[in-house]
Symmetry: C2
Subunit: 135 residues, 2 copies
């Protein structure tokens, strides 16, 4: 997947800051990150970048369907995995794991009921196997 091409063909301009963020998210694929995570890493390479710009860029990447997001623990988490999966957050170590799922029938029945579903997130919490075993 060429994110730069996707960005351009979505009608957005390719700026150095956007390239740095794309490099960051590629280095974190698959994975989950917050605006703060992007900022602190990209800021080392591009010291003038601000949080506001990071937020702008992440929103742009969502509009280009390069990223997806969900809210958890008071923050917005981003991911490049736009496919059908659940996000599991471990309440012990805080790590987020993708759990693959088949497309849930709820989306189909919601559509049948007249709901036009444009975004869906399945979020689980609990204790991951690693933390359960180390107790």
């Amino acid at each position: 997947m060429d994110y730069v091409q996707t960005l351009r063909s979505s009608g957005f301009k390719v700026t150095p800051q956007r390239l740095r963020v794309i490099e960051y998210i590629m280095s974190r694929t698959p994975g989950h990150f917050r605006a703060e995570d992007v900022y602190s890493e990209v800021h080392r390479i591009e010291p003038t970048i601000t949080m506001a710009t990071v937020y702008n860029i992440l929103r742009t990447l969502q509009k280009s369907s390069i990223l997806k997001s969900f809210e958890l623990k008071g923050a917005t988490w981003f991911e490049t995995n736009t496919g059908s999966h659940a996000n599991f957050m471990c309440d012990v170590c805080g790590e987020i794991t993708d759990l693959e799922i088949e497309q849930h029938s709820i989306i189909k029945s919601a559509s049948d009921a007249g709901y036009n579903v444009t975004d869906s997130n399945y979020i689980l919490r609990g204790v991951c196997p690693k933390c359960r075993d180390s107790q």
Copy 2:
């Protein structure tokens, strides 16, 4: 369901403030509300109550399994429906609707994979039938 009894048997004290919040959530069942919504209504009856207390009480009610919560649009939403369902938020009118679902098989397969799931939320966004029709 007697929320007061549940609260007491969970080891929490029954205070006037907690009673007012319980009255509020009962008047909003089924439904979805934020801390701010609880505050502005309860504050009319119990003018000394503060947001901090409302947050405390809502957390207590979650610990007693009277409420469940999820995060959406930068806020935490609470609901008394603790059963298996999805929450659909309409991006036009902002209303949140419960969509009943059968317990998703992901929880079973997550358990099989060693994940101990203590909380799950299925969140959908899009356009509701009402808003779709009025366009």
